[in-house]
């Protein structure tokens, strides 16, 4: 399924699908959906361009929200804040933007670029930098291709704007994170400006269409009384890891990230087994009876067993019946560079990555 433009009617499906690719994190897409709906209502539908159709000389700019989702649901962006971030960087670069892109296809950041594209009157590339959600700014495939995170722009709702130029992408994460905190923990950023050629090489194609399609599959499966989880597994080419009931959730905050574990007690075919999900905003490792069955960089998604809706790590609670699925990440995440950037060891788990079909 290919979409050629994003209209208001697509937004529910995109939000639902983006929550699934958010792998438990990425923030509640509800605000993103409302922002996108308002932007599309004001400026019209956003043209969606397949990655392989953009020219070598295109100037592609990903945009995203950085900060705490908890803050974003309270301090909503100003009317033009999203577009301002992109415009600021374009001015600094001295280039005319041709396309907006998504840094991550998961959670609220699948929809923020729709707002930017609508506000700036630019087409959106049907692609993103991860093919999922990850917590830190340098964790995008363009990092592997030598695309620099900076210069990057950061804009708050008050009109404060900044452009950072850093020595590497890790420094970009560090400095942008502290600026975000000073700006009130919810800022819009633009970074990884790239040419069309770089975008085709380093982005994950078709991910916005994929979000829309996943959302539509879940919606349709429910209407047909079919199993929505099975549809998601099939579409993502993944597999079901475990069905069970949440019996314990432990959370703690470590250096600004919510780390934790959820314990599931098996049901149906998994009766007698236990699964532990380890997360830092996103799900990172899934262990069955003490043995890792899946890990980053692959996708571990926790879905409500009946409705197929994604359950966020913040929303996990005792008694929920969920199905945990794993889906393969873009193969480039499994290269040594990709694993160094977002493999289990980066997150402090001393294990080798466990692939979906390992």
């Amino acid at each position: 399924m290919t979409m050629h433009e994003i209209t208001i009617d697509h937004l529910d499906d995109i939000a639902r699908g983006a929550a699934i690719l958010g792998t438990g994190g990425g923030g509640d897409p509800y605000i993103g959906r409302l922002l996108a709906a308002a932007a599309v209502r004001d400026h019209g539908p956003v043209p969606l361009v397949p990655l392989d159709e953009i020219g070598d000389d295109a100037v592609v700019l990903p945009v995203a929200m950085m900060g705490a989702p908890t803050v974003m649901v309270e301090k909503l962006p100003s009317a033009e804040q999203v577009g301002v971030a992109a415009r600021t960087l374009a001015t600094y670069l001295g280039k005319e933007l041709t396309h907006i892109a998504c840094a991550e296809a998961g959670g609220v950041n699948s929809l923020i670029p729709v707002v930017a594209a609508a506000q700036l009157g630019l087409p959106l590339v049907d692609a993103d930098g991860m093919g999922r959600a990850f917590p830190e700014l340098q964790m995008v495939l363009p990092t592997l291709y030598g695309v620099r995170a900076t210069p990057m722009s950061i804009a708050d709702e008050k009109g404060n704007r900044g452009v950072l130029d850093t020595v590497d992408n890790h420094w970009a994460e560090r400095l942008a994170r502290s600026a975000t905190v000073d700006m009130g923990c919810s800022a819009m950023i633009s970074n990884y400006a790239m040419s069309g050629a770089q975008a085709r090489e380093s982005l994950v194609p078709g991910t916005l269409s994929l979000c829309a399609e996943l959302g539509a599959q879940v919606r349709q499966a429910r209407a047909e009384h079919a199993d929505p989880v099975a549809r998601v597994v099939e579409r993502l080419g993944g597999r079901t890891l475990f069905s069970g009931k949440v019996v314990d959730v432990a959370r703690r905050t470590v250096t600004g990230f919510a780390r934790g574990e959820a314990k599931l007690s098996g049901m149906d075919g998994d009766t007698g087994s236990e699964m532990v999900l380890k997360f830092q905003n996103e799900h990172l490792v899934a262990e069955r009876d003490g043995v890792p069955e899946a890990s980053v960089p692959d996708l571990i998604c926790c879905l409500d067993r009946e409705s197929g809706e994604a359950v966020t790590t913040e929303g996990l609670r005792y008694g929920q019946r969920v199905t945990v699925i794993a889906a393969p990440a873009d193969p480039r995440w499994h290269t040594p560079g990709g694993i160094e950037l977002a493999g289990p060891r980066y997150f402090g788990y001393d294990i080798d990555p466990v692939g979906v079909f390992a």
Partner: protein
């Protein structure tokens, strides 16, 4: 003695209590004007057990009036939403996700003004009092009669909401003002929605509360009148005039609280089986567990305090279809037509009530009319009901601890004596008027829900401070100080925020200070 009254959509139930002993109870029909139904209920109690109206110490009323008014978009006041947030927030103005029908019904107008706080208490912008006065002038010209004020992060710091209220009240002395930090929690749109709903109901609240007070004093009762809130605690009539939204979910709450008193269990799951649905909630220390997710009311997302209730479409009126192999019960129901459609009443529709009668669990209508039902079918239907209810009870448990189950409501005869995974089902006496009893025994509460920046080593002090504030609020609301205790405490670290930001929620409750 006290009187508890539950004004539902169909029935008005009343009980006369001495301590926790039920002296009299009655079910009457709810009347269009509500007042005459209440008068009839009080008279009914008087006939069952004569009492001296002067000996009544308090009257507690639970009502579904306000939520019905919203759902029916009926008698809502012209309302303005004022949001203190600029330059933030302009992307999504107030009422952005409301059904248009309701925006129209409240003649919704909205104003964005500079102000608001950051998560850590800094100002987003200074409050622009000139903008506020200009907005007030515009509201006055537009005939606005009720105003909802919401400031960013007001649950952390409410100073701007309070100041804005002063300014608007000075410009428009006759409008009612609702402040968001008193109504909802973190989550601006949801809290603002709840506040706008509250504002739109204020005129109706004044009218209804006057009517309730008149019907009680008309019965010769001079004792104070209280309304029950969503969380099972009471508010006095002045509070009810200001916060009608806080009564929205008092129906299920009252049933649950009544079930606790009747069964003597203060930590349990309560299954309230009505005609169309079974509502399942959980009591912890006698109070309903609250929903932690947003709750949609009449198509509007809100986040005010509501009990966590899961409903399934199984009740006394549920239609039973299929045979023993492919049998379904509900979710559709014959509803108020039970007495003409059910087999036991000579109708032609097989309902859950017919199944209960055929199984000998209830004597309703003419049992002879269901004597022919296939035994396997009856068994299959009862099993199906038991399995579905057991499943919902299981979902509502929040820990691995076993949770006793209490069944109340007219349809509770449908439930078995044992539920899979839950054990014995407790069936207290007076189960049919559990909601009125719940209203009568309600207590007074105080709550704190705020994000704290907890410095190292300060956690215990911060927690103590929050608990004391909750206790103080309960006492200020009328609780007897000696009886106040903490019934709920919840601490959630917030990701991506520095300074070990932690959201703390504490609830304290105590007995109503009666007399003097």
């Amino acid at each position: 003695m006290r009187i508890g009254i539950d004004v539902g959509g169909t029935n008005t139930d009343a009980v006369l209590l001495d301590g926790r002993q039920v002296l009299a109870s009655i079910k009457t029909s709810t009347t269009e004007d509500v007042t005459s139904g209440i008068v009839a209920a009080i008279n009914g109690l008087q006939q069952q057990r004569a009492f001296d109206p002067a000996a009544v110490q308090a009257v507690m009323i639970g009502t579904t009036h306000f939520i019905n008014a919203l759902v029916e978009a009926h008698r809502l006041a012209p309302t303005a939403a004022v949001r203190l947030s600029l330059p933030a927030g302009a992307s999504l103005p107030p009422m952005v996700d409301w059904p248009q029908r309701l925006v129209d019904a409240v003649s919704g107008r909205s104003y964005l003004v500079h102000g608001g706080h950051e998560f850590d208490g800094r100002h987003i912008a200074e409050l622009d009092e000139g903008e506020l006065r200009k907005a007030a002038e515009d509201m006055g010209q537009a005939g606005v009669r009720s105003v909802a004020i919401t400031s960013v992060f007001s649950p952390v710091n409410a100073e701007f909401e309070a100041r804005a209220a002063e300014i608007i009240a000075a410009e428009l002395p006759d409008v009612a003002i609702s402040l968001s930090h008193e109504i909802g929690r973190i989550g601006l749109l949801e809290r603002e929605n709840a506040t706008v709903i509250n504002a739109a109901l204020r005129e109706l609240a004044a009218h209804i509360v006057d009517g309730l007070a008149a019907s009680v004093s008309g019965a010769g009762i001079t004792a104070p009148l209280y309304l029950s809130q969503n969380d099972g605690t009471l508010m006095d009539v002045d509070f009810a005039r200001r916060y009608p939204v806080a009564t929205f979910a008092s129906g299920p709450t009252n049933s649950m609280r009544g079930a606790a008193v009747l069964s003597g269990l203060d930590t349990c799951a309560v299954v309230d089986v009505g005609g169309t649905t079974s509502d399942v909630g959980v009591l912890r220390q006698g109070f309903p567990r609250e929903a932690t997710t947003d709750v949609s009311v009449a198509g509007i997302r809100t986040n005010f305090r509501m009990p966590d209730v899961l409903s399934i479409g199984i009740g006394g009126g549920s239609r039973v279809r299929g045979g023993a192999g492919d049998l379904t019960v509900g979710p559709d129901s014959v509803g108020y037509e039970l007495t003409s459609k059910a087999l036991v009443f000579g109708g032609d529709t097989l309902t859950a009530t017919d199944i209960a009668v055929a199984a000998g669990r209830a004597e309703i209508g003419d049992p002879g009319l269901v004597a022919h039902l296939d035994r396997d079918l009856v068994r299959a239907a009862l099993d199906k009901i038991a399995a579905d209810v057991a499943d919902v009870v299981e979902r509502m448990r929040t820990s691995a601890e076993p949770l006793p189950v209490v069944a109340v409501g007219g349809g509770s005869v449908l439930l078995p004596d044992e539920l899979a995974g839950a054990g014995t089902v407790h069936r207290p006496e007076n189960y049919a008027v559990a909601n009125a009893i719940g209203a009568a025994i309600a207590q007074i509460g105080g709550e704190v829900d705020r994000v704290y920046a907890i410095e190292p080593g300060r956690r215990e002090a911060v927690v103590e401070e929050a608990k004391q504030e909750a206790v103080d609020r309960a006492v200020a609301a009328g609780a007897s100080p000696a009886s106040v205790g903490i019934v709920d405490f919840d601490e959630v670290p917030i990701p991506y925020l520095p300074g070990n930001a932690t959201r703390i929620r504490v609830k304290a409750v105590g007995d109503l200070q009666l007399g003097a």
